[in-house]
């Protein structure tokens, strides 16, 4: 289903390319620098806190700068597809690589934040809380990677990020306003589903640690991820790629 050489090459490329190395690295550095600055400015009164998984959504977006659309724009797709490689294998390898790299940066950020909190305060967060946060971050990275790969199967260059941004704006700014009207309450339901596709995440406290276990949250997450991957593969299967097309 997945090609290990392609997966490895995509993971390695993410760390060698300026456009995919700098954004997540910048996020991690700026976030920590801000925490340290606040700590020093307030004389250790404002202690840093672990960011919630959904607050690190910029990391998968930064890693997503390198995607199928980018390969198409750079003329790599016709070369890759001349090989006896299934298109689904290509899409799934892209997803796995993007998810892996984004998870790496998200977990690195978590470890550094944890270290800073432990160094700055007499106590640190509970290990269970850190574990739940880590699982949430990895699930968010893999989920967002599926959505971004799906969008990039059709859109050139960074169009998938633009589409994600527009949909996110609609979900966060437009739909809540519409939903305030009694006759348009469905807008809040649409918002919930849209965010579930744009930022799929497994919240352990609300899923496995809940009573009873929330199978709905679990199946919703995996269902959203598999549907986005299937849709991406379907779109890519119908895309004609030639040296003359972009």
């Amino acid at each position: 289903m997945m090609s290990m050489p392609l997966y490895r090459s995509r993971v390695t490329r993410s760390f060698h390319r300026f456009s995919t190395l700098v954004p997540p690295l910048a996020f991690v550095m700026v976030s920590l620098a801000w925490s340290v600055a606040m700590l020093l400015y307030t004389n250790f009164l404002l202690t840093p806190e672990m960011e919630l998984p959904k607050e690190i959504f910029l990391i998968p977006l930064g890693v997503g700068l390198s995607s199928i659309g980018r390969d198409a724009t750079e003329g790599l797709l016709p070369v890759l597809l001349t090989r006896p490689l299934r298109r689904s294998t290509y899409v799934l390898s892209q997803w796995a690589a993007m998810g892996t790299v984004a998870s790496f940066w998200a977990l690195l950020h978590l470890v550094l934040q944890w270290g800073l909190i432990v160094a700055a305060t007499p106590h640190g967060p509970m290990p269970l809380e850190v574990l739940y946060n880590a699982i949430g971050r990895v699930s968010l990275c893999l989920g967002m990677a599926a959505t971004l790969v799906c969008f990039s199967t059709r859109l050139p260059g960074w169009g998938h990020l633009a589409l994600w941004g527009v949909l996110f704006f609609i979900a966060e700014r437009v739909l809540p306003g519409l939903g305030k009207d009694e006759s348009a309450r469905f807008a809040l339901t649409v918002r919930q589903y849209l965010l579930g596709v744009l930022m799929p995440e497994l919240d352990i406290r609300r899923t496995f640690a809940a009573t009873p276990v929330s199978w709905l949250r679990l199946t919703t997450y995996f269902s959203n991820v598999t549907l986005m991957l299937l849709l991406g593969i379907h779109i890519f299967n119908h895309r004609e790629v030639s040296y003359a097309s972009r």
Partner: protein, 164 residues
């Protein structure tokens, strides 16, 4: 539609297709199930048993946050949904306090456990929800009665609000 040879490079992966269909079905079934058996999230606030609170407070140098409520208290349920089930607020509480949840059982059982009743009397709790913040040295720092909204509670708990 032209049939795609399953061995071709454009075939849909069957495993993924089957998984997607099964997951959709499971999603629908679990939605129906949870409609009648709603899931309660594990508390986002890390409540500490009363008997461990003082020791933890000294160990971690954090004040104790006593939260007084009752099962019959409707504003308590609204506040718990708005504040304690909110990721940001719960994270703020866990980082700044040793939170202890105390339930008044006089309506249901006639009396409270002695430790709970002693705290209710010590902090002059006459309504619910109520909060008392007690420092590491055992002295009361702040007291509050009533809900008053998400932002108001965060301000009382000294957690930065979005407007700050």
């Amino acid at each position: 539609m032209r049939r795609v040879d399953p061995g071709s490079t454009r075939a849909l992966p069957r495993g993924l297709l089957v998984a997607a269909v099964l997951l959709l079905g499971a999603r629908g079934a679990s939605a129906l199930y949870e409609k009648h058996n709603p899931s309660q999230p594990w508390s986002l606030v890390a409540w500490v048993p009363l008997e461990q609170a003082e020791a933890l407070s000294r160990e971690r140098h954090l004040p104790i946050l006593y939260y007084f409520s009752a099962d019959w208290c409707a504003p308590c349920h609204i506040m718990e949904r708005d504040v304690f089930n909110n990721d940001y607020a719960a994270r703020g509480i866990n980082a700044r306090y040793i939170p202890v949840k105390l339930k008044d059982r006089r309506e249901e059982e006639g009396v409270n456990p002695p430790a709970v009743q002693a705290l209710i009397k010590a902090h002059s709790v006459s309504g619910f929800p109520s909060f008392a913040v007690v420092g590491v040295d055992g002295k009361r720092l702040r007291l509050r009665q009533g809900y008053g909204g998400y932002t108001s509670i965060l301000q009382f708990l000294l957690i930065p609000t979005p407007s700050d």
